[in-house]
Symmetry: C2
Subunit: 587 residues, 2 copies
């Protein structure tokens, strides 16, 4: 093999006259005035090569055999391109290679995916021929970005004295949380391992073991429904530290994200990040992961309706409910009655009893579902600048937390469907999540994050009888409307832990069964500790501007969890099943 | 919490007079002349703290409550120790802290493992309380070494333009190789994923996809017998590159290992490494992973016996067999007849028909199993320095490859049982492995490495009719007698691939079934590529001087693949089994 002296992305006019060897794939072939032009491609870029039959007929004949995606080695002389042939969009656009030798390293059949074309193809085809799909420039860029982010994260944490420690994949199945993927044991027949949903318990054990600071870029597994956003296996940048508080974790998390953007995209992110309490986020955006770049804050307009003639609004107010809404700029002349009907249906799907809309086109009369019932109130809203010219306001009435959630979902839908994606990165911490939530189905309190999350200790004292008012020391990192990281200060004090268990009504037996060995470990001097986990796939997707995490995973699975290339999952042999002591139902 | 200003490993006399706060665990408590001395421990070291009742009675009383492994925060003043109390073995041995404040962060029951004592405890106890076992200085050192090696490996490869790319854990089960761990699919009922035995196929696909250079520190899984050396899950530093040959991989591998030793142990390893062909290793050491630090090369002494009176030796020679042996220094006066009987039994277990031994104590007559039969031959061996004073020679006769293997195993046993472990690192590449081996059981040829390994192309031409003489472009890295890495140049040419399949007698159908999607990928311009995988666990164990890889894995499994701490594997609920469509036999 003629081994490369350079990659396809580095030659320029300063190399002019040099003899070089390039290795790569034939990206395009063109004939121009009897001369054959080959665009040669590798991970680093593309370089144009030409074969001139007037100079070397044999070589030219050999070049005629080339097809797209052939792998070749080409020796030649670097030549500056004629001025009119210079391509400033290409790194190597001011030179081309005058070929003097050609070695065909391997041939290619006509590929089922055109690597050099940007065309819509089915996901199934892309995944079946993923090795060709990955040859595309965009995919290579995404994979390289992911690599850079991983190295940045590791080096940052390692330089901050965090130890990378691998935790096991073959674990114990626990009834908590999402559904486990399980692995039958051949030796202990009838028993199963579970693949980790996260290294949570192990990282807390590592704190108990005095490792002080831990990190891992860990694969995690959840056997849930696999949507665009969810894969059966996903990757977390997981870290935990001892003798720290919330502020330390914010500082580390901010440094980490800053470094990932710096090394991954060469973008400087400002720190410290914005902070918003859960309560504020819900009140302002109806979401605990708001994208604030689009504005459209929720307004409480209950006051405007205190003397309303509308009975349904009156009764909401009488029952201590609220009337809230948000204004969408520049959509009044776009949104038709049909659109409003759709939005009303949507609001109902989200749990609203109805949707009030007010639309104010410039220089036109206001339109609204409550135009007749609330002319004065609408005027006041216009006069106070709650609704401006060109804006549409969507309004929902009812119990506060429900109203917030419905408006939040409407707002997210509007952002997704009605706006071009904005540039830039909207980064913030959401803090002070409620410690407990009410499980309607099971009619009991449960831990919102997990029962090892440290509550705000003063809340615990104050609100013992109103557990839903107790906040926890947990936090999420939100970027562009995605929950990017989640973490908390953990409980290391037995008295607090017992109080939390008491509040969620867990009995001794259940406690041992569910959290046995972690609590056992906490009997031997656990340090105060806290941590977080950052979703690697989502982080890279947001950085790359991709909607789906599949675009930043080398070999993702389809929505049914299958791999069309390897044809996994698949049947086992009778012998394998026998060894595992397993019988399949309906077999 | 009083947050630390320093760790327990950094204060010295230059900090004298400073007020500091330390966080950590109570390692030891001593009373000296009414003053309480606490040794405080964290990951970074230990620092002595004292509580003087004459200065602060309340504080002293509080200190009396402390027990081993309590987690505390201590504020105090750094004092130089009196000259006679300086401990030069400790980083902080010239100072102590005069405590002024004490906060008990958490208490500890009497731990089932004494963290501050080096005592033999059962593996089961160590693993059940792994979080305490990991507090021990040796374990912390090992985990930190592992961390360093991982970062060194990543940074080295990343700096060499290798991309870290994650390959999937939920794969297709293949009948080749070791036994798979499998994962039942809930969505595609009756189907299973398999956990990867290595990322081999995916890394080759990444080369086909033009990623050029790939690496991953990858967890791998094999459901085999789990001995001291083997764990159900283990970690590989896996890398692969395109447009490279064997020499490139040697260079990368050498740089990688050098960097790991440099950053891990601050030891400079010489490169390039020694190289030995498989043939030479087998002839000289009877092993393809020799530890050459102990000498004891095998000698072919057939010539000495060409006129032997011993019929059994004569018949070996007549059948083109060999007589080989190796001399063990300084053991003649140690090895008793009982020892020789044991060695003879061992040789027979290894497949020898018998063992000849010759023992020459200084100033004493030679002793030997063949003393009477071969007096002249023994004298010649002595005169030629094949056996020296004080040495014992062990000799086996028979077919060459069998004799080599038996002697190799005897030699390894002698090294393990009779010698103190030597310092230093014996590093070499073993090259030119045979491409094929004969599967006695199935009476057929098979690929020694795997069928995608590139044979020496000239061998393929020369030896078409003697396939066992064909060598491959595969290589192992051996350190101190352990196979540390393994790799090969892969086949990218269809003609060679077909020839290899022809030689091992694989039919079209089987080929598709076993290697389908990789061969499919090879239809679209695969680049020449080669790579290797380094065993992370073993590498760190050898660097740490540990015999068992369990000493360098945070949470290893027992020999039955179980975790005594988490109690994995365990039973699933009926509901889980039902969702997976699985019935257990004998239930």
């Amino acid at each position: 093999m003629l081994k490369r002296t350079h990659t396809c992305g580095e030659l320029n006019s300063s190399n002019s006259g040099q003899e070089v060897i390039l290795n790569g794939w034939v990206d395009r072939i063109r004939d121009l005035g009897g001369i054959k032009f080959i665009m040669l491609r590798d991970r680093y870029g593309k370089t144009q090569v030409f074969f001139d039959p007037n100079e070397n007929q044999d070589l030219y004949q050999k070049a005629l055999k080339l097809g797209n995606e052939y792998t070749v080695s080409i020796k030649g002389i670097v030549k500056e391109r004629p001025a009119d042939a210079i391509n400033t969009d290409m790194k190597t656009g001011d030179i081309e290679i005058h070929a003097t030798e050609l070695e065909i390293l391997s041939e290619s059949e006509t590929p089922p995916i055109y690597v050099n074309r940007d065309e819509e193809i089915s996901e199934n085809l892309r995944l079946k021929y993923r090795y060709l799909d990955l040859r595309k420039e965009k995919m290579q860029k995404n994979i390289i970005l992911r690599h850079r982010v991983m190295q940045a994260a590791r080096n940052y944490l390692s330089n901050k004295d965090f130890l990378e420690i691998e935790t096991p994949f073959l674990n114990k199945s626990t009834p908590e949380g999402a559904r486990d993927f399980v692995v039958p044991s051949r030796i202990k027949k009838g028993n199963f391992y579970a693949l980790p949903q996260s290294p949570q318990i192990f990282k807390q054990l590592l704190m108990v073991s005095g490792m002080d600071k831990y990190f891992q870029i860990a694969r995690c597994f959840r056997d849930e429904d696999f949507r665009a956003d969810r894969q059966p296996e996903f990757t977390q940048i997981d870290f935990e530290a001892s003798f720290v508080d919330k502020e330390d974790i914010f500082e580390i998390g901010e440094g980490l994200v800053k470094e990932c953007f710096d090394k991954g995209l060469n973008i400087e992110i400002e720190t410290p990040f914005k902070r918003m309490t859960y309560k504020e986020a819900m009140n302002k955006y109806g979401s605990d992961k708001p994208d604030t770049r689009y504005g459209m804050e929720l307004n409480d307009i209950t006051e405007y309706f205190k003397n309303t003639k509308a009975k349904f609004l009156k009764s909401v107010i009488d029952e201590n409910g609220v009337i809230k809404g948000f204004s969408i700029p520049e959509k009044a002349n776009e949104f038709s009655r049909k659109k409003f009907d759709e939005l009303t249906d949507l609001a109902k799907q989200f749990g609203a009893s109805g949707l009030i809309w007010i639309s104010k086109e410039e220089n036109k009369d206001v339109k609204s579902t409550i135009k007749k019932l609330a002319e004065e109130e609408i005027n006041n809203l216009l006069n106070d600048g709650i609704i401006n010219d060109g804006e549409v306001m969507l309004i929902v009435a009812g119990e506060l937390s429900k109203v917030n959630k419905i408006l939040g979902q409407l707002r997210a839908t509007i952002i997704r469907d009605e706006y071009v994606k904005k540039d830039g990165f909207d980064i913030m911490w959401i803090t002070d999540f409620p410690m407990f939530s009410w499980n309607e189905e099971e009619q009991r309190l449960e831990a919102e994050h997990h029962p090892f999350t440290m509550p705000n200790v003063e809340d615990l004292e104050m609100y013992k009888d109103e557990p839903l008012k107790i906040n926890s020391q947990s936090y999420d990192l939100v970027i562009n409307g995605y929950e990017m990281a989640s973490g908390s200060v953990r409980i290391h004090r037995k008295d607090i832990q017992n109080k939390v268990f008491e509040i969620i009504g867990l009995k001794e037996e259940e406690i041992t069964d569910k959290f046995g060995f972690l609590l056992e470990a906490f009997r031997y001097g656990p340090p105060p500790h806290a941590g977080a986990a950052l979703g690697m796939d989502r982080l890279v997707a947001v950085m790359a501007g991709e909607d789906s995490i599949k675009e930043v995973i080398a070999f993702p699975k389809t929505a049914t969890g299958s791999d069309p290339m390897a044809e996994a999952p698949s049947k086992l042999s009778e012998y394998q099943l026998k060894e595992l002591n397993i019988i399949l139902k309906n077999d």
